[in-house]
Symmetry: C2
Subunit: 225 residues, 2 copies
Amino acid sequence: MLNLLKITTPAFLELLPPEVADQLIAASVLMKYSNGQLIHTRGSLKPGLSIVHKGGAHVGVNGIDGTFVMVAALGPGECFGEFTLFTQLPRTHDISSIGESQIYQLSQHKFDVLYQREPSISKALLKTTLMRTHVLLEMLDAIRRLPILERTAKVLLSMSYSLGGSNVLRGRQDELAFTLGVTRISLGKALKELSHLGLIETGYAKITIPDRVQLSDWVELNCGA
Amino acid sequence: MLNLLKITTPAFLELLPPEVADQLIAASVLMKYSNGQLIHTRGSLKPGLSIVHKGGAHVGVNGIDGTFVMVAALGPGECFGEFTLFTQLPRTHDISSIGESQIYQLSQHKFDVLYQREPSISKALLKTTLMRTHVLLEMLDAIRRLPILERTAKVLLSMSYSLGGSNVLRGRQDELAFTLGVTRISLGKALKELSHLGLIETGYAKITIPDRVQLSDWVELNCGA
DNA sequence: AACAAAATGATAAATATTTTACATTCCAAA
DNA sequence: TTTGGAATGTAAAATATTTATCATTTTGTT
């Protein structure tokens, strides 16, 4: 999936010792949602932590005009709503279900009790949050400093790291274009140039990275620092 | 200061109960740095938390070509280095002193001991980190979705919130331009238009917001969601 | 195998932004 | 109070990007 916050950030649940993860799950309610169903609404004041069990969750903002701007897509093990637990502020995003999803919902109170008892929870939360901050800073830096071609290469490289063994990124070009802050047309040109350079191969809703080392070298050489 | 991460984010130290803050300070070493002196280097593997006591700290990346790209400027009470405490990864930024600064340096070990004992530390850290993430997401969204004029207004409004009583933002236009991801020229045009609209007044290295409510209304109307 | 929907490719005109260059204004130090 | 550096203002040419269309390719479904 061509998705910003998924790059290199490990899932919250995986960072917890298994017995602590079990406790969190035991304290929460497993809710089921149909495709596209709204899970949380921007502005809502009810705090609580949510953890994806099955399926996924779209994080974004529904514009007044009916448009939906995606910020991230979260998969199994990933969490959202942490912001409401620590800031007493209203929710900043709309969250809706991707496919038939199952989400663990944990109330502020039950979370607090476990949080107090198990320091591994705060550690895991801090780790995911700090990784997210890091990815966001990198992205912001890329958008501000790098021309589209370099920006594209750098983000593709980052995304490739979260791929494990495979070297195929799946997702539409317009998704990636939005992540990079450009139009599909401009992204298309950049992708074409990168494939002329032999760094990637484009396909139907996928991008293949034949040689990650080669791409990495190019990024290092052309994107500075 | 026209600085991204300072917007609306409360300082770490201020979020701690005074007695916990005192313990953190007691466990750390107060180091002094001269103007521009390097405090930490990108790539360094030595973990530790730093808290600004006096002066400030530039966070950024020194390019191969000698350029320095600023990410944030931190002031008293604000912290950096958290990333190294939880990820076991090398430092991602160069940090140098603003003016004659004094920085509390806390080793990973001493931090861990206190962290285990005082849950308020993780709470404060999570709160600052989550607020930073939120600000970064807002900024990213603004850069991707909003034209320069709207983007400028929105960021000025955000910055105005961290101002307390005053309504004057101090800082150079080229700093703000970088934060917004545009050139000084483009920013100048946007500022001119905003002042024609009566929403701001520009001065020498400062921007005044005569009526924050008016600016807020305009942003709400023109920046969606 | 045919077809429709989805995704990409490609083009030119319109627009936005940067680059370059220089003028002007402001501030602080001598 | 002068003066030089720092910051802003302005304008035009060069470039980059978007918008608007339409053609082509791919995929999955009849």
